[in-house]
């Protein structure tokens, strides 16, 4: 649904108004950081990963912090919702388009510049994996 007095979808405005999973995370297992203040968008995604009974690595908790426009904040909030409770392999498959679609679309001009949340999520997972490798190295 599109409110004609607003360039963004209702869903985008809902997430902007009440962002989900907002905040810092102490002792995160992985942190993803994308963007640059010069360009006007910076996103940070923090994840906590735990192993399920089946031995899968699950995103147990996820938080975000964002400096940026409405689209940047809403996509960050949405990606945390999409990734929460997923395995890290499933979360790696979340794309920028998935995020935009879940928000009922973004203005075309925002598709490229402010739709970085999936990248931040992927960066957090990669960070988690490399930390895990490092700690395994230490153990060995």
């Amino acid at each position: 649904m599109r409110d004609v007095t607003c360039p963004y979808s209702k869903e985008v405005m809902n997430h902007f108004r009440n962002p989900h999973n907002l905040g810092e995370m102490n002792e995160a297992d992985g942190i993803g950081k994308v963007g640059n203040p010069l360009c006007g968008d910076v996103m940070r995604i923090y994840i906590k990963v735990s192993e399920s009974e089946k031995g899968e690595e699950i995103i147990k908790d996820i938080k975000f912090q964002t400096f940026g426009c409405v689209a940047a904040i809403a996509t960050s909030s949405m990606v945390t919702e999409l990734a929460k409770g997923k395995t890290i392999d499933e979360a790696m498959k979340i794309t920028r388009n998935n995020v935009a679609d879940s928000l009922d679309g973004l203005p075309p001009i925002k598709m490229h510049c402010s739709n970085l949340a999936a990248d931040a999520l992927h960066a957090a997972i990669k960070d988690y994996k490399s930390k895990k490798l490092q700690s395994e190295d230490v153990v060995i």
Partner: protein
């Protein structure tokens, strides 16, 4: 929810009296001002009357008023028109880094066509140094274009002095007065200007009408050729209703301007005084030499489009110089020119007041704005500095 419009620098509502004056010219007095019959003459008289009101308001002659389709068109006509007409005299044009795009873009386009362009810097408050204009003038300089007051930060330029320098050096001087006309009194003789652009929709008139004052001895070519309307400088059947509205709006300004500007200055001063009390809030532009209705700030660690939209959700309409809200996705060239870093320019907010704003409106904004800033700072990863890497590292499990 209260609705507060504080974006009068973007556009203003049409005054009811202006609308009433315009109405007959749509379906009753619809003649073409070029026609000899009574319908045409009604239109012609209305056109002449508006022309006279505008001329009188800036101390010009009737034949020096050229109606255009917008302020941007007036700027384009002034710059390209003078450049083409004087290209055998010289090819050098001087302007400033904080001009409106309607001035900068035509100048840069002319540069591509083989003209030379000097873009003068401004100081931190947005002022052009008149002595820098004097130094930049060369033998082949044909035009200087410096705005009367800046549309974003409201800084009022030393136009009288720049005009005098241009006159002494025999160089045409154009000023974009779109933001000042109707707010500050304009006397083209005192200002020594040869060309001056204005627009109706900034002073409670309709959109789609502008005006270029062209001193009667200026050599200028038209942009639009055709039926020789507007002394051959702007062919097109005249937008009579719009021009009548422009005339009426200017006529009303004459009586209302002094009191209104005193009121707006008062409200604006309270606004600035209170907003800069917010932590890490800064005023952009000059503290005194600024438009009576303009306030422009930047807030550290937040982004302007988010701020503008959060204010909008709370009923306040304002604007920002952030890249995210611009079609070009670039931060405001004006804010960068006064020395703001891009990340600082992204956090800018312009509040521009108008005659329908009240003390209660200001109070409401002062209540809503700090909350919006606080909310967005909670979302932002930056808390103490832009390079919060130390802060960042501490979150990683060790």
């Amino acid at each position: 929810m209260r609705k507060v419009y504080m974006d009068y620098a973007a556009t203003t509502p049409v005054d009811d009296r202006v609308l009433e004056a315009m109405k007959p010219f749509f379906s009753k007095k619809y003649g073409n001002a070029s026609s000899m019959h009574s319908y045409g003459q009604d239109a012609k008289n209305a056109l002449d009357n508006s022309r006279h009101i505008l001329a009188d308001s800036i101390n010009a002659k009737n034949n020096e008023i050229v109606f255009t389709g917008s302020g941007s068109e007036a700027d384009n006509l002034a710059i390209k028109g003078v450049a083409f007409a004087n290209r055998f005299k010289g090819k050098h044009i001087i302007t400033s880094s904080i001009e409106h795009h309607a001035v900068l873009e035509p100048c840069e386009w002319l540069e591509k066509q083989g003209f030379d362009l000097t873009i003068l810097p401004v100081d931190k408050s947005g002022l052009v140094d008149p002595s820098a204009v004097e130094t930049a003038i060369r033998k082949d300089t044909i035009l200087v274009s410096i705005m009367h007051a800046n549309n974003e930060i409201g800084t009022i330029e030393p136009i009288d002095e720049i005009g005098r320098i241009c006159k002494e050096n025999d160089v045409y001087f154009h000023t974009d007065a779109v933001q000042t006309f109707g707010k500050i009194s304009i006397d083209i003789e005192k200002m020594n200007v040869d060309l001056l652009s204005t627009s109706a929709h900034k002073l409670y008139g309709p959109k789609g009408v502008g005006c270029l004052y062209v001193r009667d001895d200026v050599k200028i070519e038209p942009l639009i050729h055709g039926g020789k309307h507007e002394f051959g400088l702007r062919s097109s059947t005249e937008n009579i209703a719009g021009i009548v509205g422009f005339g009426k709006a200017v006529e009303l300004r004459k009586g209302e301007m002094p009191t209104e500007m005193r009121n707006l200055t008062k409200l604006r001063t309270i606004l600035i005084k209170e907003v800069i009390k917010i932590e890490d809030a800064h005023l952009n532009g000059h503290s005194e030499l600024r438009l009576p209705n303009n306030a422009n700030f930047w807030f550290k660690f937040i982004e302007g489009e988010s701020l503008m939209m959060d204010l909008s959700l709370n009923g306040v309409s304002a604007s920002t110089g952030s890249a995210c809200s611009s079609k070009s996705l670039k931060a405001s060239h004006v804010l960068l020119a006064i020395g703001l870093k891009p990340e600082e320019a992204h956090g800018s907010l312009r509040l521009s007041l108008g005659k329908y704003n009240t003390a209660e409106d200001v109070e409401y904004v002062l209540n809503v704005l700090p909350k919006s800033v606080e909310k967005l700072r909670k979302i932002s990863p930056f808390k103490r500095d832009w390079n919060s890497e130390n802060n960042f590292e501490k979150n990683i499990r060790t």
